[in-house]
């Protein structure tokens, strides 16, 4: 299943469980028929307003036309911060479908911070595909909040092409949806380039969240670091599929992947598939995956200092996902994400 093969309006293109890449997320089961095409005409977004020092770009209904211009505008402004605001409104009577793609090039030596904030309401099915291309020494930080309704079907894919000495950092935070998949494919250029792919998910009720990443190291001396943390409760499902590929000749690659999840009650599901695919020998690759309950030692420590059990659990559960957000360099975005996590994690107390 290649990235471009999915067309939300063509059910014959929907992957099924038989596609290894979609083993744990069966789109064809969720979306049994093509969603309706919306009647509204998209309008290009205004580039004037700048909340919190961001260039604002409206990506409602997966409309990404003019994205490059907005990114260029942000970089010309000097602050290099772009706010992509995606609101998708569906119907209460059958799915409305949205599909779109956009592209952002960050030229050599340039830096850009992109904040993607996806929300919506009612029944909609959205498929977006963003392409990011970095020049030599460019730096792209991508912070994504997926705060979609439990009725939404959402497949957001992106491809990232790095260049020597470039830095790509991604932070994804999600609460899932009826069906939600966030997929990132990175072409790692090596030669000093650094890729970080972090994320945290807090999924409850019957929601489904799938975080799929693939990093292909094609050249020497590339560094990849990935930390994903998650909480699931009720009968929710969280899927993490991470794959690091080191191609022949990509010596000196240093790649690390971590996935840590807590299941808060019996009947919630975690499906993890952290893969390493290595064709070069002079490499350091490692992955770790843990699924379990709260650390009882930490609980004991907190309680022995007088913190009531319930408060201790709440504190530790909340603290479990925080480190991912703490690593965000941009102050405004870090605060935004921490607030988001604080609000969401109220419902997530480990048992």
């Amino acid at each position: 299943m290649t990235l471009s093969a999915l067309d939300i309006f063509d059910p014959s293109s929907y992957p099924t469980r038989r596609d290894e890449e979609w083993k744990y997320s069966d789109l064809s089961r969720v979306l049994r028929e093509a969603p309706k095409k919306p009647l509204v005409v998209r309008t290009l977004s205004e580039l004037d307003s700048e909340p919190d020092g961001f260039v604002y770009f409206s990506a409602d209904e997966a409309g990404f036309d003019g994205l490059q211009a907005a990114a260029d505008h942000a970089m010309q402004k000097g602050h290099g911060r772009l706010y992509i605001d995606g609101n998708d409104f569906g119907d209460e009577d059958g799915y409305l479908g949205y599909q779109g793609h956009g592209e952002i090039n960050v030229a050599a030596g340039q830096a850009l911070v992109v904040f993607e904030d996806y929300t919506g309401a009612f029944d909609y099915a959205v498929h977006s595909h963003l392409r990011f291309k970095l020049g030599d020494g460019a730096k792209l930080t991508r912070v994504v909040i997926l705060d979609e309704p439990e009725t939404a079907v959402s497949v957001r894919q992106s491809t990232v092409e790095t260049a020597p000495d470039s830095v790509f950092k991604q932070y994804v935070f999600s609460t899932g949806a009826k069906f939600q998949r966030f997929e990132t494919h990175v072409r790692h250029a090596g030669h000093g380039a650094i890729v970080e792919m972090n994320g945290a998910y807090l999924v409850k009720d019957k929601r489904h969240f799938d975080l799929t990443t693939r990093v292909s190291h094609g050249e020497i001396n590339g560094v990849t670091d990935q930390t994903i943390k998650g909480l699931v409760k009720d009968s929710a499902t969280a899927v993490f599929q991470g794959r690091i590929i080191v191609e022949k000749g990509a010596d000196g690659t240093d790649a690390r992947m971590r996935h840590q999840a807590l299941i808060l009650n019996d009947g919630a599901h975690i499906r993890a598939k952290p893969e390493l695919e290595i064709y070069a020998d002079d490499v350091q690759c490692a992955h770790g995956n843990t699924i379990g309950a709260l650390d009882e030692d930490a609980m004991f420590f907190a309680m022995s200092r007088g913190i009531p059990e319930e408060a201790a659990r709440a504190m530790l559960t909340h603290a479990f996902v925080l480190p991912v957000a703490d690593a965000i360099e941009d102050d405004v975005l870090r605060e935004t994400v921490l607030n988001f996590l604080e609000n969401v994690s109220e419902d997530f107390y480990a048992v």
Binding site: N265, H269, R271, L276, I278, A280, N289, T290
Partner: protein, 488 residues
């Protein structure tokens, strides 16, 4: 050092596989190809009960509707299933009850194998030979079973499965296909339809099997697939350790090996299943070699039962093998220790499945993959916990070692958890031999080969330690042969 020289010579000898000889014994074949009549022919040859024939035919019908799996990271020329013989048996003499009557050619075959367990002496009836019970499978048919009587004294049944079907039909019927159903997968269905022989072990309640049970499989005739079926049942409180070792002669055409092994452990029972697999891996260009498509599964049916799989996989052109444990009984334990070595053009996609269903079930997976040459080694494993498997614990460690620029190593774990009270930990690393460690060893006077051998032995030590002593020696030799030669 002499030992290293010997190893290098052995490696050079590996180019022309030392077990690549063909024993010339009169064979009796079923007609080439596979159809319902061939299935009936095999069943009739074995004088099987009617229900067995029905099971075979059902499996055959099912197989026809199935597709060969292609999800593994292996690439091979597909087998033409109609171009194989499904039954080849050495012609039976009248009542070869004593070992002297065994075809000398056959005994020579064992001698040529250089069996380290000295089963050949046992087979030859040497007085004072160590006590191992051997059920030798020579192209599909169990030729001789030793120590059967002694085992019988303690109530242990160890015989060919064809014999068990005649003598203990109820016991076989109760368990056969209960762990690996005929429709389980493509190769298991094929095996159920055409299996010609294999081993059957039953250890009665409370009995600790007095000796290690051992089987040698050998693929001999040209174009015969080997389809053994092994069924081991450890009744309540029983213990058995089973060794399986394999070599095969050189062939130009790929040979198919689709075995099924079923283990059943009842309350408090323990089964230890060890494999050393050294089938012909194909020549340096990857031509020939065995296709090893095996389904091995253990059902820890009883509370506190334990199954431990240990495997050393150094042979075969293509390996597709996932010894698994269904941890059904509360407090049951599954273990998987594996060394997979690939060299030349070999491909191995191997791992395990630990399916936690019962409460407080525990599993441990230690997998060491080593790839050299142009080979590829994949670890593929599933660890899953059912919602009711509270207190389940798994620890998985997959380490891969790469030797050379052209080999590949993959780690594909699947972790599925549906309960809050399970604890799963998975770690995997992929590296090449550490230059620092090599330097350290060499500056203390070891040659490069010795240093590499030392480090590699250290790398796989965790698993080697789990093998029964007799096997550990052979395994260490196999690993050393396969590895040391590949370092330049």
């Amino acid at each position: 050092m002499a030992a290293v020289k010997e190893t290098i010579e052995t490696v050079a000898g590996l180019e022309t596989y030392e077990h690549g000889f063909v024993t010339d014994i009169e064979m009796e074949f079923a007609p080439k190809g596979l159809n319902a009549d061939v299935v009936r022919f095999i069943s009739a040859k074995k004088n099987e009960p009617e229900w067995m024939l029905e099971m075979r035919l059902a499996a055959y019908e099912r197989w026809l509707t199935m597709e060969e799996p292609d999800w593994a990271k292996v690439d091979y020329q597909k087998v033409d299933y109609q171009d194989l013989y499904y039954y080849a048996a050495p012609k039976k003499k009248d009542g070869p009850k004593s070992l002297d009557e065994i075809d000398p050619e056959l005994l020579k075959t064992y001698a040529k194998l250089g069996i380290p367990l000295r089963e050949q002496e046992v087979l030859a009836g040497v007085v004072g030979a160590p006590r191992y019970a051997v059920d030798a499978v020579f192209d599909s048919v169990s030729v001789v079973t030793t120590f059967k009587d002694e085992l019988k004294k303690s109530g242990v049944i160890f015989c060919a499965i064809s014999e068990a079907l005649r003598e203990y039909p109820d016991l076989v019927r109760q368990y056969l296909g209960s762990v690996v159903p005929v429709s389980d997968n493509y190769f298991a269905a094929l095996n159920a339809a055409v299996f010609s022989d294999g081993s059957f072990v039953y250890v009665p309640p409370g009995v600790r099997c007095p000796m290690e049970l051992s089987t040698y499989f050998r693929i001999n005739a040209e174009n015969t697939g080997q389809f053994e079926r092994t069924l081991i049942i450890a009744d309540k409180g029983a213990y058995v350790s089973y060794l399986e070792g394999c070599t095969a002669p050189q062939r130009d055409e790929n040979q198919l090996h689709a075995a099924v092994v079923e283990l059943v452990a009842l309350d408090d029972a323990e089964i230890k299943y060890s494999t050393v697999q050294n089938w012909y891996p194909g020549d340096a260009e990857g031509k020939g070699g065995i296709y090893n498509f095996v389904t091995k599964r253990a059902d820890c049916r009883g509370a506190r039962s334990k199954v431990s799989w240990t495997q050393v996989e150094t042979g075969s052109a293509v390996t597709w093998k996932y010894p698994s444990c269904i941890l059904r009984g509360d407090d049951s334990v599954g273990e998987f220790y594996s060394i997979a070595v690939t060299n030349g053009a070999q491909q191995a996609d191997t791992g395990t499945k630990m399916i936690h269903l019962g409460k407080n079930t525990k599993s441990r997976i230690i997998s060491k993959g080593i790839s050299a040459g142009r080979s590829s080694a994949t670890y593929r494993g599933l660890v899953s916990a059912h919602a009711k498997a509270t207190g389940a614990r798994n620890f998985t460690q997959c380490d891969s070692l790469l030797i050379g620029k052209t080999c590949a190593s993959h780690t594909v774990p699947y972790i599925e958890s549906d309960t809050a009270k399970a604890q799963f930990e998975h770690e995997a690393t992929t590296t090449r031999l550490s230059e620092d460690q090599l330097f350290y060893a060499m500056q203390r006077g070891l040659s490069q080969e010795e240093a590499v051998a030392l480090l590699v032995n250290g790398f796989v030590r965790d698993v080697l330690q789990k093998l029964p002593m007799e096997f550990a020696v052979e395994a260490q030799k196999l690993v050393a042969i396969s590895l040391e030669g590949s370092v330049g």
